[in-house]
Subunit: 367 residues, 2 copies
């Protein structure tokens, strides 16, 4: 096996982890190869606060009688050099006199300088940086580099970008198959969903996950709701407020006087600047609650505000076979201030899919 | 060969015609098969006003010594039964005692009752109606059934349906490859292009055809220009007004006092109803000028008006990797009156193509 193939084996191990159990940590896989080229130890990070991949792989190799001083460690991510919930992995490598470490990606966390420390201690480092690893750990990388959750906008529009008619009516622009994809592939893969009180009230949105077998899964929900509209008496029967047993409804407000609410509702107190939430503040609160990735299913204004605050990483846009030409219907992105052609937001096309006559276009947003 | 294969051979013949030479007639191919199953005569309609396919095929068969009274005629379209620029083909078939005619499609023109007349005269008729024939003659069929040209809208928008910023600036939302497709595959296949004076003035649009080899071809242009804005002194240098040698610039207006203009400009006098052209009237004028298919490259209002007048048959929409969220930017379809979700315009997806990061979606508009 080549060095690259060993790393690819470690990637397969890394991906065995349940993403919800490792949050906010990255996926990491590691293998130990002895002198004759055989895999003698392997491991992957399984749970936040518990052993790192390197530790598991090294312990596994020791159990198998490995001579570590003539072995090579392959690890998908630069080993950590700082004490977090567990001691630094660099110590363990140095301690066991492992002479050669091959790494597949660098840690974006500036506190991590594993490569430097290992080199200073005579460990040979080979870097084979694989693009699929940035992809695999994009949530972690965004969290580290941008100090915020990864945000993904999902929208379903007519061919001309409309999400609702002039009365706010939006059911149903997209078809059943598209909506199933949203539940099973988008909502299922994030830590929370973000919307505005207005959108939720208009649609009486549930924002849960409907699985293929018909079962329903709850999802943490973050609602921008400066004036606590959700809690007004006339909204008491909204689906979003009920039936939550293992997730939280986070209400983002700047109100001081907060009413008593059930346990599954939490207020996130954040400043608002002329009706717009201070996203910088919200980002840190969400990260502190282990909400590392967020799906935005919101209205024109919240979508546009997030986009202009450079908070959006990806967009999944369903383009449906219809047109609403009423100039008072609602566009999917709308703000009041001028944006000229020179200030256009540029996207990068990732993939086009088709669900009957709906088209799903997946974009990344350029920095 | 089966009956279907004979018809498919006739279709190949039909498609040899230059569409611009046969206008307003359909593509038609015909073959004569003698008793032993051999093709003994073939022909296709080549030029409006000249012989129909059946006539050419029958004459060709006679030259080859066919015994028509024991032959079968295959023709892609129901033979004509009325005297137009040439005598009815049914007469010729009856005269030559051709006992069996196989037809691939019916003529949508209610004046044509070829099948009935042939049957009344003892000719056996076999109908094998092939969907590709409605496709091949869709311009002719629309002209006949809807009494108007076929209209195709082409647009290039951001992901959220915008064609220009708040200042009307639109260059360039779509990429070079998309624009080349418009010239070489859309503009090249229509009899004229339709726009509004406002769009042309804003973009100083040329609306010609740029071929792959860099050569430029003129294209008939129809401009909705109630107030003759194109002819105002400040617009005298617009590209659209110059360099025309073999096509016409049609200016649609309701003005009585018309200025003297060069030969290549013609006024089409049509009523306007509260600033909107009377399309019914325009349709007949265009058909009378042999303009059977029209590509619409226009602004929000003209697109929306045509769509709501049920005049649009197909849409080619380029979706480009960008977003303009300014609420004052221009949507591709815009009108002032209400359109609720129940009144949404429904499209049928035909095809998705990709030009680098631009997506081209081709739709048909349902009646």
């Amino acid at each position: 096996m080549t060095e690259r193939e060993y790393l690819e084996h470690a990637i397969l191990l890394a991906k065995k982890a349940n993403p919800k159990l490792i949050r906010p940590n990255p996926f990491v896989g590691a293998i130990v190869i002895c002198e004759n080229g055989k895999i003698i130890g392997e491991g992957y990070h399984q749970k936040s606060g518990e052993a790192h991949a390197e530790v598991i792989a090294i312990n596994n190799a020791l159990l198998n009688g490995a001579i570590l001083s003539s072995s090579t460690l392959y690890v998908t991510l630069e080993p950590c050099s700082h004490t977090g919930k567990t001691p630094p992995c660099t110590n363990l490598i140095i301690e066991h006199k492992i002479p050669h470490v091959v790494i597949g990606s660098l840690d974006p966390n500036p506190m991590v300088s594993g490569v430097e420390i290992l080199e200073q201690n005579g460990v040979k480092i080979t870097k084979i940086l694989l693009p699929e690893l940035s992809e695999m750990n994009d949530v972690f990388n965004i969290n580290q580099i941008k100090k915020r959750p990864k945000y993904i906008i999902k929208s379903a529009t007519t061919l001309n970008g409309k999400i609702a008619d002039r009365n706010g009516e939006s059911k149903w622009i997209s078809n059943e198959k598209s909506r199933a994809f949203v539940h099973q592939n988008l909502r299922s893969n994030v830590d929370a969903i973000l919307s505005s009180a207005k959108s939720i009230i208009t649609d009486n949105a549930r924002l849960n996950i409907r699985h293929e077998d018909g079962s329903i899964e709850e999802l943490n929900t973050i609602v921008i709701d400066q004036h606590l509209d959700l809690l007004k008496e006339e909204n008491a029967s909204l689906s979003i407020l009920h039936g939550r047993t293992n997730t939280t409804l986070y209400i983002v407000t700047n109100k001081e006087d907060l009413p008593a609410v059930p346990n599954y509702i939490q207020f996130l107190k954040v400043d608002f600047d002329s009706n717009t939430v201070n996203f910088e503040a919200l980002h840190s609160i969400l990260l502190s609650k282990n909400i590392c990735s967020v799906l935005v299913e919101a209205g024109a204004k919240l979508n546009a505000t997030l986009l202009h605050s450079k908070c959006i990483d990806e967009i999944y846009s369903f383009i449906c076979p219809s047109i609403i030409s009423d100039s008072h219907s609602k566009n999917v992105y709308e703000q009041d201030f001028a944006q000229t052609m020179g200030q256009i937001t540029t996207l990068t096309l990732v993939k086009i899919s088709q669900f009957d006559e709906d088209i799903l276009v997946h974009y990344k947003v350029l920095d």
